[in-house]
C-alpha cells in the first residue's frame, strides 16, 4: 500500500536519512525503534511532507511521487490519505476537542458539518472522551490531549496513521491510557506506522519492527526476530540499553 524507496534527507551538512526503503501493507502495525538522532522522526515527517526529502520516491496506492519534487497537489492528496499524531499533540488551541477533530473533515475534505460532527463525536467516544466534546485543549490533561490527537487522526479515516513518539511528552502515569487507545485502534485493523520508545507496545502490538540507527535501517522483522533473535550487533547493543535485565537472559 505504501512503499518508500531510497529516501535521503540532510539538514545542512548533517545527513539524517541515508537511503531508507520502507514497505507497509494494509493492516500492518509497524514500529520503528532506534536511538535518538537515528532519523526515525525525520522519516515520518518526510512521508507526510512536513519535511521535504532531498531524494526518494513514494508510491501510495495509485499515487506515485518523487519526494523531492512533488507538486502541491500531490502533497495535498498524500496528506489526505495519511494522518499524523504528534509528540506534542499540536491540538488547535483555538478550537474545542470536537472542532479539532472535525476541522480536517469540514475544511480539508469538504464534508457537510452535520456529518463531520457525527463522525468526530464517535471518534472522541472511541478514545473515551465523550464528556469532553466542548473542552478546549487548555482544559485537558496531556493524556486527554493526545487522545484527542488520535481521534483527530482516526476520524479522517486515513489509509495510514503516522505516530511520532506519541507518549514521549506525557507524564508516566498518563502513558497507559494513550497506549491502550492505540492498541484498540490497531485491533480494528488500522494501518499504523509508529515511532516510539515503548518496547512493550512494540512487542505486543506490532507485526513488524524496524530498528534504525545512523540514518539507515539496520534490521527489520517480526517482534520475535528483533527482540529475541536480533542478528545485528547494533540492535543488540540498543536493546541491552533500553531493556536492561530483561534482555541479558535472552542472549
Amino acid at each position: 500500500m505504501l512503499e518508500i524507496k531510497n529516501i535521503h534527507k540532510s539538514f545542512g551538512k548533517n545527513e539524517i536519512l541515508k537511503g531508507v526503503d520502507l514497505k507497509i501493507d494494509k493492516g500492518d502495525v509497524v514500529v520503528i525503534l532506534g536511538p535518538s538522532g537515528s532519523g526515525k522522526t525525520t522519516l515520518l515527517r518526510c512521508i507526510n511532507f512536513l519535511e521535504r526529502a532531498d531524494q526518494g520516491t513514494a508510491s501510495f496506492g495509485e499515487i506515485n511521487v518523487d519526494l523531492k519534487g512533488a507538486s502541491k497537489k500531490d502533497v495535498l492528496s498524500i496528506r489526505k490519505k495519511t494522518a499524523f499524531v504528534f509528540q506534542n499533540y499540536n491540538l488547535f488551541n483555538n478550537k474545542t476537542a470536537l472542532e479539532n477533530v472535525a476541522e480536517g473533515l469540514i475544511i480539508g475534505r469538504k464534508m457537510p458539518k452535520q456529518q463531520a460532527y457525527e463522525i468526530s463525536k464517535s471518534a472522541l467516544d472511541k478514545v473515551g472522551l465523550s464528556e469532553k466534546y466542548d473542552s478546549y485543549p487548555s482544559q485537558l490533561s496531556g493524556g486527554q490531549q493526545q487522545r484527542v490527537g488520535i481521534a483527530r487522526a482516526v476520524a479522517l479515516n486515513p489509509d495510514i496513521i503516522l505516530f511520532d513518539e506519541p507518549t514521549s511528552a506525557l507524564d508516566p502515569e498518563l502513558v497507559g491510557e494513550v497506549l491502550q487507545v492505540m492498541k484498540d485502534i490497531a485491533k480494528e485493523g488500522t494501518t499504523m506506522l509508529v515511532v516510539t520508545h515503548e518496547m512493550g507496545f512494540a512487542k505486543d502490538v506490532a507485526n513488524k519492527v524496524i530498528f534504525m540507527d545512523g540514518g539507515v535501517i539496520v534490521e527489520e522483522g517480526s517482534p520475535h526476530d528483533i527482540f529475541v533473535t536480533p542478528k545485528e550487533e547494533r540492535t543488540r547493543r540498543f536493546l541491552r540499553r533500553v531493556l536492561p535485565g530483561e534482555y541479558e537472559f535472552e542472549i
Binding site: N48, L50, F86, N94, R152
Partner: protein, 238 residues
C-alpha cells in the same frame, strides 16, 4: 482679555466644534487601518519567512518609518505625491487639477503608509508566538496554507496582537491631529480655527484634549471587549 482665567462659554461651545471633527478623524483612522492591516500582515509574513527581496525591503521600510517623525513624513509625502502625480498625469495626458485634491486622500495615503510599518512589527511578534506545530497539524489534516492561516494561525495570532493593535490604533487616532498640517478638517484644526477668533487657545486645547481622551478611552474599551471574545479559548475553565 476676560477677567476670568477661562472663558467657560467658549470652552463649552468649542467642545462641540472639536467634536464635529471626530467623524473625519475616525474616517481617516478606519480607512488607514483597513489599508494598513493586510499590507502589514503580508509584509510581516515576508519577514518571518525570509522572502529574499521583500524581506529586505520591509526592513528598510520599517526602519524608515520608525526612525522619522510623523510630521516630517506628512510634509514629505504631501510634497512628493503631487510631483509624482503631475508626472503621471502629464505622461498620460490626464487633465486634473492636482492642487484641488481633497486632503483626505493624502491623509489616507500618509497614515496607512505609517501604520502599515508599525503593524509589520506587531504582526511579526504575534506570529512568532504561534507554535510551528499548529501549522504542521493543520497541514497534516489536509488544510492548505491559506486555510491553515485563516482558521488556525490568524485567530491565535490576533489574541497576542490585540494589545499592540489597540496601541497602534490609538496612536493613529492621535496622529490624525497632525492632519491640521495638510488642512484636514479634523478635531485639532477645527478647534484651533475657532480659537483664532478671540485668541482662546487654552480653552480650545483643553477641548481637544478631552475629545481625544474620550475617543481613545472608547476605543480602548472596545478593544478590550474584542480581546476577551477572541481569547475565550485561553481562559476557558474546566
Amino acid at each position: 482679555m476676560d477677567s476670568s482665567f477661562i472663558n467657560i462659554e467658549f470652552l463649552i461651545d468649542t467642545f462641540f466644534v472639536a467634536l464635529s471633527g471626530v467623524p473625519i478623524a475616525l474616517l481617516v483612522t478606519v480607512v488607514s487601518m483597513a489599508i494598513a492591516l493586510p499590507i502589514g500582515f503580508f509584509l510581516a509574513l515576508t519577514r518571518i519567512n525570509e522572502i529574499p527581496v521583500l524581506n529586505w525591503f520591509t526592513k528598510v521600510y520599517v526602519s524608515f518609518v520608525r526612525g522619522t517623525p510623523v510630521i516630517i513624513q506628512i510634509f514629505v509625502l504631501y510634497s512628493v505625491i503631487p510631483l509624482i502625480l503631475t508626472g503621471i498625469f502629464e505622461k498620460y495626458k490626464i487633465d486634473y487639477p492636482i492642487y484641488e485634491i481633497n486632503p483626505l486622500w493624502y491623509a489616507f495615503v500618509i497614515f496607512s503608509f505609517n501604520t502599515a510599518a508599525i503593524l509589520v512589527e506587531v504582526f511579526r511578534s504575534a506570529l512568532k508566538t504561534v507554535n510551528q506545530g499548529q501549522l504542521e497539524a493543520a497541514y497534516s489534516v489536509g488544510l492548505t496554507t491559506a486555510q491553515s492561516y485563516r482558521r488556525i494561525i490568524i485567530p491565535q495570532m490576533l489574541v497576542t496582537a490585540m494589545p499592540n493593535l489597540c496601541t497602534a490604533t490609538i496612536n493613529l487616532i492621535k496622529a490624525t491631529s497632525l492632519g491640521y498640517a495638510i488642512s484636514l478638517q479634523e478635531i485639532t484644526l477645527k478647534a484651533k480655527v475657532a480659537a483664532n477668533v478671540g485668541y482662546n487657545y487654552l480653552e480650545a486645547y483643553i477641548d481637544i484634549f478631552i475629545v481625544y481622551m474620550i475617543l481613545c478611552m472608547i476605543v480602548e474599551y472596545l478593544f478590550k471587549l474584542f480581546e476577551k471574545r477572541l481569547s475565550r479559548y485561553k481562559y476557558a475553565t474546566a
